[in-house]
């Protein structure tokens, strides 16, 4: 049996069920490795001692019928966890302890999983490098001083470094898929309405989705099966028939039509990415898929649209952080003074920038020119996909226009940072499912990912495509454990 922390989720579950490993042994292994990995700064809050207690409790009365029996899992610090501090990577929630549990995490605990800790992320999930977190940068285990992507950067780092067998993130414009791509891991953003948003600190309500992050496709399928549920507490949760994603997983994708959008060949994209994409197309063909050229003409407008819609919603969603009910408060002479100081000191620069963008695009006289315009373009972007899906079953693209960059490389240039999400953002705007799988390395030896975009509620097809391509690609991170 290989080292515990190197085992996949499915292997760990098998070993627990076959009583080769106990929940305590597994939990101990991940806790120990996590404690040795402080340098990565992946955790904001650990739950180690509680996790060990819970593992013991599980072992005393194990229930092997559960889907995640006694499996310790660390989650992005955007999910509210009852009794455990939840910060959203922000000073303004530095001391916030929820008295409630998000639906997604509750689904995990109901299936036997154990909370290992809360993982670092960009403040309110606004960022692509985890550099906007109040709790500091996160290191990419691939190489020192490399960003792990964002906003689920703590999640991707912890996952890639084997500090947690799987994890969950949230994806508003690429925050699961881009960090997965940067760390050689698998990340899936489900269809909007698939996973409940109840109890997840909101960034942009019409775009936010939680999703699984894992080291392989089969683990992602299982975790998605656990977290995706219809929830009456979320008015945008959709009641559709959810597959048994893991047991229905197949590598037989013969005859599936996969579209290649011409517009994703963007200017200045490194040739390695182009090459990787071509390789991916070849793999898909080898797996029996039919490759079809398609057009998504409004692709180039997706990012500008996103940078109106998301900040607009965020400016309103973040109005509740006002120092009155919870979280950080800066004393003020009067109410307005208190508000202004609290929000000025409590939010970081990127969050403030986006709140101001959002406030501006909604303000009187500019609403039609910006917000309404963006909503209309969003319609066009969605229609592009609707049209494409008349011809194909899924779409294959690169996940990101580049591999991971150095910490600090883009912090002074917001727009170049935003360009990172160019391939992932259209998927959120159209509410579609998308998965990023590791597909190879660039010249620097940094991982690159390929993205498979599906039809609404057809997570099964993109999982199947990813599963069959994963076999052909057979990618594996080569960790040096440089941080230990």
């Amino acid at each position: 049996m290989s080292e515990i922390t190197k085992q996949s989720l499915n292997e760990l579950i098998d070993n627990i069920k076959n009583k080769k490993l106990s929940s305590l042994e597994i939990t101990k292994a991940f806790v120990e490795r996590s404690e040795k990995s402080k340098k990565l700064n992946a955790y904001v809050t650990d739950n180690f001692s509680q996790a060990l207690d819970n593992a013991k409790k599980f072992d005393e009365k194990p229930n092997f019928e559960l889907k995640l029996p006694g499996i310790p899992i660390a989650v992005k610090d955007l999910f509210c966890t009852e009794g455990t501090r939840t910060t959203a990577g922000s000073k303004i929630l530095n001391n916030f302890i929820p008295t409630y549990e998000s639906t997604v995490t509750k689904n995990m605990w109901n299936e036997g999983a154990i909370l290992l800790g809360k993982l670092n992320c960009d403040e309110f999930a606004m960022g692509s490098s985890n550099e906007t977190s109040f709790f500091g940068n996160v290191q990419n285990p691939i190489s020192e001083n490399l960003v792990p992507g964002g906003s689920s950067g703590g999640s991707s780092s912890a996952l890639a470094a084997n500090l947690t067998p799987v994890t969950i993130g949230t994806d508003t414009g690429g925050s699961i898929r881009q960090p997965a791509s940067f760390t050689g891991t698998v990340g899936l953003k489900p269809t909007y309405g698939s996973c409940s948003r109840y109890g997840i600190v909101a960034f942009a309500s019409s775009l936010d989705q939680a999703g699984p992050m894992s080291t392989n496709v089969k683990d992602a399928a299982l975790l998605l099966e656990v977290i995706s549920s219809f929830d009456k507490k979320d008015s945008t949760s959709i009641d559709f028939k959810r597959n048994k994603y893991s047991s229905e997983l197949t590598n037989n994708i013969k005859g599936l039509k996969i579209g290649i959008p011409n517009e994703y060949r963007v200017e200045g994209m490194p040739s390695e990415i182009e090459d990787l994409w071509k390789k991916g197309i070849d793999y898909a063909k080898e797996c029996g898929a039919e490759i079809i050229d398609i057009s998504l003409p409004h692709t180039k407008y997706a990012l500008p649209t996103y940078y109106i819609v998301a900040p607009a919603e965020a400016s309103s969603n973040l109005a509740r952080y006002d120092g009155v009910k919870y979280g950080f408060r800066s004393e003020g002479e009067n109410l307005i003074d208190m508000y202004e100081k609290t929000r000025s000191e409590g939010f970081g620069e990127e969050v403030k920038r986006r709140i101001l963008i959002g406030t501006y695009v909604l303000s009187s006289g500019y609403y039609d020119a910006y917000y309404l315009k963006a909503q209309k373009v969003r319609q066009l972007i969605k229609k592009d996909f609707d049209d494409a899906y008349k011809k194909v079953d899924a779409i294959l693209t690169p996940s990101t226009p580049s591999s991971a960059f150095k910490i600090g490389e883009k912090t002074n240039d917001p727009v170049s940072m935003y360009l990172n999400d160019i391939f992932t953002v259209p998927v959120n705007l159209a509410g579609l499912p998308g998965i990023s799988i590791p597909a190879g390395l660039d010249k620097k030896g940094f991982p690159l990912g390929l993205q498979i975009i599906g039809k609404p509620f057809d997570e099964q097809s993109i999982l199947n495509i990813a599963y069959s391509m994963e076999e052909k690609i057979s990618y594996k991170n080569n960790l040096t454990d440089w941080w230990i």
Binding site: K232, I238, P304, Y307, M338, R353, I357, Y418, P456
Partner: protein
């Protein structure tokens, strides 16, 4: 378009985020570069396009009129910055 200092200060006021002169200048610069990139949308004619608010292609789901939440005052006030057992407390409101 260019966002001038006055506008930056005005929207900061609306968003209840205090900015000093230096910050406002820096923000004006950042926001202008972002808006320059956003302006790309103006190339598109969207005259007859319906705005899309939500991709969830369905309508609002109803809840029954039932009282389910009990008195959870303690929980509600447990994270409050001011320690008062009955109320949220804020500095005096001046109109």
């Amino acid at each position: 378009m260019t966002l001038d200092l006055k506008t930056v200060k005005h929207i900061s006021k609306l968003a209840r985020i205090s900015v000093d002169e230096e910050k406002a200048n820096k923000l004006a610069g950042d926001l202008n570069s972002i808006f320059e990139f956003i302006e790309k949308l103006n190339e598109l004619n969207t005259e007859n396009v319906e705005p899309l608010t939500s991709v969830a292609n369905t309508t609002l789901r109803f809840r029954e009129d039932e009282v389910q939440s009990q008195n959870i005052r303690e929980k509600i006030l447990s994270n409050s910055p001011d320690n008062n057992e009955d109320f949220f407390v804020v500095p005096k409101v001046v109109e």
